[in-house]
Structures are given as C-alpha cells and as structure tokens.
Amino acid sequence: MREKRDRVIRFGMILVGTVLLGGLLYTVWIWAPGSRIRYLLLLLCAGLCLLGLLGNLWQRRQICRFTDELCGTLDDLIAGRKPEQYSYYEDTLAAKVYGKLLQFYDLMSEERRQSRQDKQVIQELVSDISHQVKTPVANLQMFLGILQSQELCEEKRAEFLEMTAGQIDKLDFLMQSLIKMSRLETGTFALHVERTELQGTIAEAVNVIWAKAEAKDIRLSVECDSALTARHDPKWTAEALGNLLDNAVKYTPKGGSVLISVRPWQFYTRVDIADTGIGILEEHCHEVFKRFWRGEEAASQEGVGLGLYLAQEIITKQRGYISVKSAIGKGTTFSVYLLT
C-alpha cells in the first residue's frame, strides 16, 4: 500500500517537474529576443537541471554510504567487536548515531565483563572456603583418630572431646557466616530498609556482646538520643553493628572501654564505635574489610576474617558506608554512615 503511494508520488513529482520545465522552456522560447540569448538561456536551464540531478545523486550516495557504515558498525556489534570510531568525536549527525551505538556496545561489554568477574569471584570464594575448612577438618580427623585408640584414660578422652567440640564450633561459625554472606550476595534475603529508630537496633547489637564485655571487664556505653532515626534494616544493621562491637571487644585489652555514639547529619546519621584497643596500622585500614583478611596483630584471637567484610556488605547494601580511624595502641573508631 505504502509502496504504491510512494510510486504515485514519485511519478506525480516527475510529471509536475516536466510540465514546469516545459512551460519554462516554452516561455523562454517565445519571449526571449534573438536566437543567441534563447540558446544561452536554454543552456543555463539545462545546466541547472543537471546540477539538480547531480545533487540528488550525490545525496543518494551519501545516504547509501551512511547506511553501509551503519550496517558495518552493527555487524561489528553483532560479532562482538568494538566498532571503529574514527568520526566519533566530530560534531555531526552520523557521529551522534555512532556515539549511541558505542554506548550500547559499552553497555553490552560491561555486562559481559561483569559476568566474567562474577565467575572469578565465585572461584576465589570456593578456594577461600576450602582453605578455611581444611584446618578444622584435619584437626577433627586427628582428634578422632586419637579418640579411637583404646588406651586413653578418661581424663584425656574428655579433653580431646572438648577440643573436637571446639573445632566443630569453629566450623559451625564459619558456616553461619557463609550462609549470611550468600544470603546477602544472592539477594535471596532482601533488606527491608525503612526509617526506624536507631536505639532499638543498637540495643540489639549490644545485647549480643554484653556478656563478652563483662567477662573482659570492658565498659560499654551508648550515647544515642531515643528519637534519632535512620533508613536501615534493623535486623541486618544490628548484625553489622554487632560484628563491629564484637571486634572492638575482642581487640580491646581487659579494663578498656567501648563507646557507641550517634550523631545525626543532614544526609547521613553517623554511628561511631570507638574502642581503646590495639589499633590498626594505617596501611591496613583499607584491607580490614576484605573477605578472610586477618591482620598479623589479630593472630592471637579467634576468628575467620568475615565479620568486618559482612558488616561492610550489609551497610553498603543499604547505601551507607563505613570508615576507620585508628592509632596503634590507642584505639580504633569505626564510623558507620547510614542515610538519614
């Protein structure tokens, strides 16, 4: 239907053009005095027509070339190659189209890269986990081997059973942390971020750590206005704060103190957890959040190196962030920024 209409329009245009041209020629022939001027005018008319025709052809070629180049670029995109971008930074219409196509290409390759990276992360994770599981399992095998041998007195047997239980606890803790991590990362457990009071969340985090602090004679104090609110998921944020508190208590010597203070800002609400512990070297401040990272100073303490990693994951998932300030021997302050 459309094709037919186009054909009619084109035919009509040619017809009208011919009639107009004929009329012009006739007028020139009738009115122009002298045959020389007549022929000159005819020549000029012919020249103009030729020019129009040539212009038309040239434009057509331009369009053909543009389409060819566009198709070439699209072929490149389909084949997954980066298109040549020779005219990308010129201020032309063609460059604009290329620009958009290149943007599209970048988007696609970014996605490809992301999926490659995800795969790599999984591989690293598997290797990390097997590394972490190896030692307790080897210990368990050893203890069981000893327990199976008959000539053990009752006292020794109880001792080895206790050590076995300790290793199982370690494995259990590792598994629990991994489950939390995978829930967060795969998104099977969505964070319910809502504007709620911070006090309850902090209280929940402190509850978990209270006994440990008591045992080490560490003074825990909280400065938080009961009206303060922040956008957060209470359950998971309590988990993150709990991890930070657990660290604070773990690395603070007997008789020290841990202070939790909250300051509301325009965009972020800042929760500081300040301890009087052993401190972190400045060059390690960045690394403490890495998965399975354990500082040399921390070697004397139990742990797998997932606490801070999990805490950061939880906070960044809520669009907040964590920063550290520390002085060796004086103490460390972890600041958690939650959107107000």
């Binding site: 930074y89 890269r113 800002w265 965009f267 960045h286 920063s323 550290v324 920024y337």
Partner: protein, 221 residues
Amino acid sequence: MDIITLHHVKKYYGRKENVVKALDGIDLTIEQGTFTAIVGASGSGKTTLLNMMGGLDVPDDGEIMVDGVKLSGLKEEQLAVFRRKKVGFIFQNYNLIPTLTVEENILFPLELDGSAPDQGYLEEITQLLGLKDKLDAFPEMLSGGGQQRVAIARALAVKPAILLADEPTGNLDSQNGQNVAGLLKMTTELFHRTLVMITHNMELAQLADRVVRLQDGRIVS
C-alpha cells in the same frame, strides 16, 4: 577493563633552571567502575594530573588513553566533544551558572550535547541527592553542600564514562564534606561510573577503592 591509562606522562612549566616538574613521568591505569583517590601535598601535581585525564590540559610528553581513545590524537574541537560526552567534572567551587535554576543547571550539559534527557534516570539522581524539592531554586539559595550536590547531579546527567572531582569537599566543613563524599561514592557506585577524586582529607580518601599518593610530580604509592 582499564578505562584510563597514562604512560610516561610529563608536564614541565618554565625553562632551564626555573623549570617546575608538575608531572614527572606518571604511569597509571585506572579500572572501569572503581573509585580512586589522589592525595598529596599542594603543588604535587594532583590537579594537573586530573586535568590531563579530562582533556583540559595536554602533556609535554607521554600518552593518555581514556575509554580506548588516545587524547593526543584529537583536535581541539574533538577534545571539546570528548569532554562533553565522556567526562563529568566536579570542582571545588561548584562552577554552577547563577542565572539558571538547579534543574536548568543539571540539564545544561545535555542541552549542549543536543541529547534528550532520560527522565527516569534524572529523577533517580535528584531523589538520591536530595534535590527533588529544590529544582526551581537558584544556586545561590542553596548551601555549599547543596550546590556541590547540584554539581554532582550535573556531572552524572550525561552518563559520563569518567567522573573527575577536584577537591569536591574543599570548601565544605568536615560534616558536609563527609555528606558530599558519601553521596558521591554512593551514586557513582550505583550507576557503575569511574570516579577519580583529589582530596587532602585522608578520612575521605579511605572511601576509595584505591589511594594514589603524589609527591613532586611522581607517584609514590
């Protein structure tokens, strides 16, 4: 994927005995989607380095590649298009246009480029940066932190490949500085942009994935 690559970049000012080596052989690669902080004393060449990445300055020697394009191969007009399409700048003194409203300021780079605004995207940005109810205000009616948030929104509007921030918190007090730096980190992460930020403040540098230390025009760590 490396989005910015600098190879043996040098920039000298002055001549003979008065020569100042602003950049003295910089080799640096920055990966796509990361947040890099550049720290160093004043006069260590931080701003010169940033200007080179954004095509605002040309090196005396060496090569700069941004998103697969060699900057030395571009003519002046092409550089202008490069900056418009690929780079978002955030300055210490905001550089907003005082006679335009907040919304017009944010849309300005899009208008220069002649491209249609992506409404959903812009709404998300203004929402995140807390500018939703200030779109009709003029920059001078906002606080320093507010103006810098407008500048961040403007830089993000064209969906640039790289964002370059030169002491974005330099004119702000520490509280507003943390606010702005946090928002900057959050938005660039959310939209997978690459961010390079100059700062004096080590606490802010900690937000970065990587810290580059400059001293006398050289990278020390």
